[in-house]
């Protein structure tokens, strides 16, 4: 993977909008030492810094759970809303229709999304709200100390909860069938891939789902679990590799023709996909579903960009909103005239 190179001169130690990495930092984490969630926070910082996202133009959303605490640990200069369990998608939908010019990164967990929040997750995707939706997926409930989540594997055993007998819900598969136009899976221990996917997701036109396997070091990191570190490292199967190109960059990618798949994003930026597995075309929805089903059959998880489609309009576009966010409209635009009320009253006489 080739790092983006820039032609814009920037002060040493700053990005193109003159901010240092330190301007993107959050509070010290209170999660367990070695938790995969912390490395995801670091990669969010990396992605936002290197793509010049202004922190004040970012909203961080989360629900309830270990994952949902993590927005406190990155980008303190960004606005944040830690909502209630499983209902963050609704809050994000409202906030981002009130101000559709904002960037947004939501952090949820497998319980917050796959159990209590499944309905809101699917409706968010259906509406295609422009935001990055990261699921920090560890297959257990951490904060309540080790119960199964709906993404837990059949036959998985936990110290106190016993054995799980139920089918895991695949949140990427759910995203694809709900019409989501950006669905990716990664692994918290793969910093390069996580950073690249977050960057690409930030440029997506609608909702971009990143399901990141993030092992719970305390309750779920034993060798038999498919959400554990050891299992992850041994079974990870990369389906593609890509580099993210900002539109203002002139970049040459060291990829041979024929190995590169180019996808144009809504904002004009492009992602270049290098297919390690030549059979997977990320613009092919049925192929993505098939790959996930095959992976399930073979007890694999595949990482990379599973599916992308930038053609679907997002919610703000569908609502015919103008350039000024609803939240910033002056009273002259939102309180109709005295005459208009008189006219309505006259019609009712």
């Amino acid at each position: 993977m080739t790092a983006p190179t820039t032609t814009t001169p920037a002060a040493r130690g700053t990005n193109r909008i003159g901010l240092a990495k330190a301007d993107y930092k959050g509070l010290p984490t209170t999660l367990c030492a070695g938790c995969g969630h912390n490395s995801i926070s670091d990669k969010i910082i990396e992605a936002c810094y290197s793509t010049d996202v202004r922190p004040e133009q970012m909203i961080k959303f989360s629900g309830i759970g270990c994952s949902s605490k993590s927005p406190a640990y990155f980008m303190s200069r960004s606005f944040a809303f830690n909502a209630v369990h499983g209902r963050m998608p609704a809050v994000a939908t409202g906030a981002l229709i009130a101000n559709h010019t904002m960037h947004a990164i939501a952090v949820s967990g497998d319980g917050d999304t796959g159990s209590i929040g499944m309905g809101q997750y699917k409706h968010l995707l259906r509406r295609n709200v422009r935001m990055v939706y990261i699921i920090e997926n560890n297959g257990v409930y951490g904060l309540t100390k080790g119960q199964f989540s709906a993404t837990a594997d059949v036959g998985q055993e936990l110290k106190y909860a016993g054995r799980n007998d139920f089918m895991p819900i695949d949140l990427c598969l759910e995203a694809i069938v709900s019409g989501c136009g950006f669905v990716a899976r990664s692994f918290a221990g793969d910093p390069q891939q996580v950073t690249a996917l977050v960057k690409a997701a930030l440029a997506h036109r609608g909702t971009a789902v990143l399901d990141i396997i993030s092992p719970c070091v305390t309750f779920n990191d034993h060798d038999a679990s498919t959400k554990g570190f050891k299992w992850g490292k041994e079974h990870e199967e990369r389906i593609n590799d890509f580099s993210f190109v900002m539109p203002q960059d002139e970049i040459t990618v060291d990829y041979a023709p024929g190995e590169v798949k180019e996808v144009t994003m809504h904002d004009g930026s492009k992602i270049l996909l290098k297919k390690l597995d030549k059979s997977h075309d990320p613009t092919d929805r049925m192929a993505a579903i098939l790959r996930l089903e095959e992976a399930r059959e073979h007890q694999h998880f595949i990482t990379g960009l599973l599916y992308v489609n930038d053609a679907k309009p997002n919610l703000a576009e569908l609502e015919h909103l103008g350039a000024t966010p609803l939240a910033r409209l002056p009273a002259s635009r939102t309180r109709p005239s005295r005459e208009s009320l008189a006219k309505i009253m006259a019609e009712m006489k």
């Binding site: 301007d23 202004r54 922190p55 004040e56 133009q57 909203i59 927005p71 406190a72 303190s76 200069r77 960004s78 606005f79 944040a80 809303f81 830690n82 909502a83 209630v84 209902r87 963050m88 998608p89 609704a90 809050v91 994000a92 939908t93 409202g94 906030a95 981002l96 229709i97 009130a98 101000n99 010019t101 904002m102 309905g119 809101q120 409706h123 509406r127 609502e319 015919h320 909103l321 103008g322 966010p325 609803l326 939240a327 910033r328 409209l329 009273a331 635009r333 939102t334 309180r335 109709p336 005295r338 208009s340 009320l341 008189a342 309505i344 009253m345 009712m348 006489k349």
Partner: protein, 609 residues
């Protein structure tokens, strides 16, 4: 026969009973889904346009087609528009309820019925008018339309017997069908045939008739949900999320009808609003809180079951201090309850909606005029006080037609509350979201996107200190709750004050709220005729105004009149004013129907002994 001929026709001969002019109720019993709404609203509007004070109430089942439904129209020259327990005139079109409907007629009244209904008419006090509904609508060849047209038969017969002006019926049809001549003509044809038939075949022996007045000049007719929608629009609402539920759905319908008319840029077609049908009421309030937090004037509308579902988010809104407006068009509960019947049963549960220590501002409109006024004021209060504001309407106010003076344009600019912009942050040099800078319990907030490194803060439902930082410290928690308490006291001084009518020398008073108002107003007049003077205070908001205590102190016995089974306003008054608890007497009733003046009068007289 032309319309002019019809209006100049001979008045039907009455027996020597004293005429009753503009003072009676009509109940029309039909089947749900039979299209009788057109006929009923046309009758209502005709009387309204003749200048006679009227009200119309639809008592309908939770059903799309087939179950019995009733519509009552009250004409009152004195201007009383509450429901009447019985009607002087009953029109029975539905055979399934005819026996019951027959019992509903006030002594000495009229029973008009479809002549194919056969049963024993055994009340000697009534006047019976069989009308050939099927025969008079048989000209219409389309069987579906024929069923609709059949309703115009009783319109014509009533017009003849009561002397309702035919041109007013035609104008009302024009209004109803938005000027579609073909539909108006088809209906008028049946009306005219029916009038002719009645003139030739019915001998009027009842005393009821109408005469033009000028008591409705300049007034409009509207339902409370449409009034609320207009209030929100003129309050500058920019985001609405809602989920369908009877009886609140027509509030969202009103928004969907009028927003495109007045809030779309005619050139760019850009909307200054967004309205989303959410997947459920939880999501609806979640979206509203998200949008309110981001700075949009944001609202939802629902009924009791939706309010229950919103409980967790209501607590978040209260504790994270987010402006939102939530309309509860109340219906009868608990559970699914009586979804198409009215109640004032959500007062306590809404006031305290949430786990933990929370209490909410509740506005209590008592008329369609107040549905409009509170519709816009609610946003000013929500943004000033940075908290969810509930507006408790009900099915009777929300779905029935009421006459009212036209709505006045908001008399003050929008109050967007304490919001800091980048320049102000620069000047201040620091920002603490939940700090009580002004001593009124209300902090300053910033909106997402404010371009200043100090602008951002972390919004959460977990414990926080005044800088919005996560905190599990007991002192931070208690300090924050104490400030929320101060804010609630500020709210007490800002919400709509009660309306009082103190009668000097009166020992007895009535306290009530919401749609109980018309019945209370009429009951006071009846009580006065019986020699009992009463004062009246109508509560218009929670938290309760301090002045209520003085009002109670000035009277010996205070009847708390409300439409629910538990006497919820009474409970709240006793809790807030325990020293006068002994003076308060419950006068609550919950049968799913709007209160009647008769019940209030009898209840108070009985308790007064």
């Amino acid at each position: 026969m032309t319309i002019a001929d019809l209006d100049q026709r001979q008045r039907p001969a009455s027996a020597e009973r004293t005429p009753v002019v503009n003072d009676f109720s009509i109940t029309i019993a039909t089947e749900n889904g039979s299209g009788s709404q057109t006929a009923n609203t046309v009758l209502l509007r005709s009387l309204f346009k003749m200048g006679i004070p009227v009200s119309g109430k639809n008592l309908f089942p939770s059903n799309i087609q087939g179950l019995p439904t009733w519509y009552t129209i009250r004409a009152s020259r004195e201007g009383f528009i509450a429901r009447r327990l019985r009607s002087e005139i009953v029109v029975a079109i539905n055979p399934a309820t005819a026996i019951e409907d027959h019992q509903l007629v006030e002594a000495g009244g009229v029973f008009m019925y479809a002549d194919d209904i056969k049963f024993n008419f055994d009340r000697s006090d009534l006047t019976y008018y069989p009308i050939p509904v099927k025969k008079l609508s048989a000209d219409e060849k389309n069987p579906k339309l024929r069923k609709y047209m059949a309703n115009m038969v009783y319109v014509g017969a009533l017009a003849h017997l009561l002397n309702i002006q035919i041109d007013e019926i035609e104008s009302a049809l024009m209004y109803h069908f938005s000027g579609k001549r073909k539909a108006v003509d088809a209906n008028m044809k049946v009306v005219r045939q029916s009038v002719e038939w009645a003139a030739a075949n019915l001998t009027k022996t009842d005393p009821y008739h109408v005469e033009p007045m000028n008591e409705t000049d300049g007034m409009i007719m509207i339902d409370g949900n449409t009034a609320a929608a207009l209030g929100a629009i003129y309050g500058g609402v920019t985001f609405i999320a809602w989920y369908p539920i009877t009886p609140a759905t027509s509030l969202a319908d009103g928004l969907n009808e009028y927003l495109p008319q007045v809030r779309v840029d005619p050139e760019t077609k850009e909307r200054s609003y967004a309205i989303l049908q959410a997947e459920d009421e939880l999501a609806a309030l979640g979206m509203v809180l998200g949008a309110g937090w981001a700075g949009a004037r944001s609202m939802t509308s629902t009924s009791g079951p939706g309010i229950s579902l919103m409980s967790e988010f209501a607590g978040l809104g209260y504790y994270a201090e987010i402006p939102a407006v939530i309309w509860d068009v109340q219906r009868m509960g608990p559970s699914t309850g009586l979804p198409t019947r009215v109640s004032q049963g959500d007062l306590l549960s809404t006031y305290w909606l949430s786990h933990g220590d929370a209490k909410h501002i509740c506005l209590l409109p008592g008329s369609v005029y107040e549905c409009f006024e509170f519709g816009w004021r609610a946003f000013d209060l929500a943004e000033r006080l940075q908290t969810p504001v509930f507006v408790l309407s009900d099915l009777d106010l929300g779905m029935n037609q009421w006459m009212t003076k036209p709505f006045d344009y908001p008399d003050q600019p929008m109050d967007r509350g304490k919001v800091l912009n980048a320049e102000e942050l620069d000047k201040l040099g620091s920002f603490a979201r939940y700090k009580d800078v002004d001593g009124d319990g209300i902090g300053y907030r910033t909106l997402p996107g404010t371009d200043h490194p100090l602008a951002a803060y972390f919004t959460r439902g977990t414990g926080h200190n005044e800088r919005a930082g996560y905190s599990e410290r007991s002192d931070d928690w208690m300090k924050n709750m104490a400030r929320l308490g101060r804010k609630f006291e500020t709210a007490r001084s800002l919400v709509p004050a009660p309306i009082e009518d103190r009668v000097s020398g009166a020992e007895v008073a009535i306290i009530s709220f919401g749609s109980a108002d018309p019945a209370v107003v009429e009951a006071r007049s009846r009580l006065e005729k019986q020699g009992l003077q009463t004062s009246y205070l109508r509560v218009r908001a929670l938290p309760l105004a301090n002045s209520i205590k003085d009002f109670i102190a000035a009277h010996q016995r205070v009847y708390v009149v409300e439409l629910n089974t538990d006497g919820q306003l009474g409970e709240l008054l006793r809790l807030h004013i325990p020293e006068y608890a002994y003076r308060m007497r419950p006068a609550n009733w919950g049968d799913g129907l709007p209160l009647t003046a008769r019940w209030i009068t009898e209840t108070i007289l009985e308790k007064e002994g």
